[in-house]
Symmetry: C2
């Protein structure tokens, strides 16, 4: 023990806190808020939270639970009846075996493979910590949801971004060379936030083969599973179940938020390859957040009692096509996205980068979109141990537009944006 | 990049996940559950969740919010009206300045110093990550809430346990020698889970002086702030506000769970010394859990509209005295605890350690208590980088008993326990 007086240091934040990049949504969110505070009307195409009302059955489920005294701690991985209902729901969704059997040894989908979480966010963070130590690396998509980078920064895990082409599809050639002995996992997010791209079945299978080849876990962020509009959807989860139990490697993360219009209820879950993995992931929840909100779990149990996701999908599908049509009519060439609730538009023809574009569009047309820069953060490691993140070129020339707003606002917002693009492209 | 084929490794958990100690409550929890599944009645003195009903106004607040469409994402640090209400509540509670002013530059308690969280658990984890990097150390009480150790393990932070005497008061002599240049913070938990000890004002002031001397942050776990029955209570937060802004160092973590009988709603908050610290702590929440449950925040806003904590305190106070009286009447010498909802009883006179005691008590008397071993985890670092935790002697000879059960059950449980102690002590 060092008994000499310590030199005075200032009371500082940790390196990980200081290094953690800020969400790029926040800057435009605040700027839009300021405009609105000045009495201006802003068309909000920046937030990924559609205008859907939460289904009545969820409100009733939560209220009923509170009235029944379900306001105490619940088991950390979730209440058994919810975990079992999720297992049944996912089994049906993906054609996996479900018999009602809950013996952890039985190779059927059951509550023993399900760990609930505070939204998909906590599930992704828990999964990362479950499989990666500080100094390990994880393969992330080159264009990605910013939370991934924040999570790796806090956990001391090194993100390796795998390249994507102009259609935001992974470039499989050269992937093997990105791995080294520290690489523990690859993250797949299809359909993607922010790009809306859906990876074709062949790509999913090749990524899975790649994961086998390098002994990697696969974290599959399936938040937008219920928003696939065209193209064939194959989840890494389905591929996992084609293999014997001891070969499986997919931690599939789902979100009630998106599928059941309940973003503010903060409930998600992970489907794990084996019971022991689900149990360990559940244990990780103890120090991260403790048990989940008990009444909300009963709300989500009610959510699963009816499959009305197609209603929301149809509604968003219509808006997706409207947005593409208006852009195309105005000379901006864009194909409808295959999934999700976003367009990630290359606006470099305007001579602006995504940040400039978002700022000027907000100022000149009162339309809020998110600069792409925050969705493509590349780390640079400095000698002093700090990390600096800078946007890659692919993301920096794009902006993200959410089409989850009411149709009249969407039409007006996209029209203004098309006008803005035309003005700057001339 | 390493292009040679990688040797096959097995798909394993991270070291941090493997090293993280299991909650000691779980083993006895499962054993009790098994007994009950066999039709036996178990008196549950093991769970720290009193039998209080959640106040009606919280149920109404949550329901009203859902009906009003407050089911979408909310600001990550909490909705402004809740943060401001918490500021006012805490200011009143601790006699701190509150003017309604929300300018972050003004030195009054306001929403700018408050960050809400998913229970105290997430606040403690976020605070730890905010100020400690991997390799840093933090001083924790020798007898402690197990989550602390789980959190340091996941974060790669080294816990240094500060010694306590037989009354579970910190031994201040020699504290300076425990610190080295890696030490970033000291955690204070008074009243304590599991010990029920309240640190006297002089001790709090000496710990604060110690923190100044070594330039440490103070994390003050105030989960049991509303359960002080005797003795003078001084929060590190009060000491903090005696000093100028740039000297303050206390992150004070509070829990709606305990104060407002809403453990299953998972809401807590942190009072930060400055606005920039609260803002940074809020940012940490983004990747850890994302925004909080929106309706529950309105529920907690309703909770704060009425100060009925004294009702629950009076109820627990009565049970606290009942438990001590029965134990004393049966020849087991114990003083009523000063705070919290637990007795941490040295049962070594029985010739059993805490683990043996808890197992046998459950088997022979069907009374569940928690072995003390899990509340005193000392790390040993191995050459391969792994950490092994073993219980220190002080904790290992104790068991934790929660007196938050209905009085008739408490009386019966403590009587059986006293009988059991007498039998083994003879």
């Amino acid at each position: 023990m060092d008994q000499t007086p310590q030199p005075m240091r200032s009371l500082t934040f940790s390196r990980r806190a200081a290094d953690m990049p800020r969400s790029s949504i926040r800057r435009i969110f605040n700027a839009a808020k300021e405009l609105m505070a000045r009495g201006e009307t802003v068309i909000p195409l920046h937030i990924g939270d559609p205008d859907f009302d939460m289904p009545e059955r969820i409100i009733e489920g939560v209220t009923r639970a509170m009235r029944a005294g379900e306001t105490h701690y619940s088991p950390v991985p979730g209440i058994p009846q919810l975990r079992q209902a999720i297992a049944e729901y996912i089994a049906k969704r993906f054609g996996l075996p479900f018999t009602g059997e809950t013996d952890p040894e039985a190779d059927v989908l059951s509550m023993q493979r399900i760990t609930c979480s505070q939204g998909a966010t906590q599930a992704l963070n828990g999964s990362l910590q479950l499989i990666c130590d500080r100094g390990d690396s994880i393969l992330l998509p080159m264009v990605h949801f910013p939370n991934y980078i924040q999570q790796t920064t806090l956990a001391g895990v090194r993100p390796i971004l795998y390249p994507m082409d102009e259609q935001f599809q992974p470039v499989l050639d050269g992937l093997d060379e990105l791995c080294d002995h520290s690489t523990r996992a690859i993250l797949i997010n299809s359909p993607s936030n922010p790009t809306g791209a859906l990876f074709p079945p062949d790509t999913i299978r090749e990524l899975y083969e790649f994961a086998i080849r390098h002994n990697l876990w696969i974290i599959s962020d399936e938040a937008y599973v219920d928003y696939v509009y065209e193209g064939e959807y194959l989840s890494p989860l389905s591929v996992d179940w084609e293999l014997p139990l001891d070969k499986r490697r997919v931690l599939a993360v789902f979100s009630f938020s998106k599928s059941f219009a309940s973003t503010g209820m903060r409930m998600g879950w992970t489907v794990c390859p084996r019971g022991d993995i689900a149990a360990q992931l559940g244990l990780m929840t103890e120090p991260l957040t403790g048990s989940l909100t008990t009444p909300n779990q009963f709300g989500m149990l009610a959510a699963l009692s009816e499959d009305d996701c197609h209603l929301r999908r149809e509604s968003l599908n219509k808006r997706r096509l409207v947005a593409a049509r208006i852009l195309n009519e105005n000379g901006f060439d864009v194909k409808p996205v295959a999934g999700g609730m976003f367009y990630f538009l290359d606006i470099s023809a305007t001579g602006l980068n995504g940040d400039e574009f978002a700022d000027k569009l907000l100022a000149e047309e009162h339309v809020a979109v998110v600069p792409g820069s925050g969705f493509g953060l590349e780390p640079t490691y400095h000698d002093d141990g700090s990390i600096l993140f800078s946007p890659n070129e692919l993301a920096a020339r794009c902006v993200r537009l959410c089409f989850g707003v009411p149709e009249d606002k969407l039409i007006e917002g996209v029209k203004r944006m098309a006008r803005f693009i035309a003005k700057y492209t001339e």
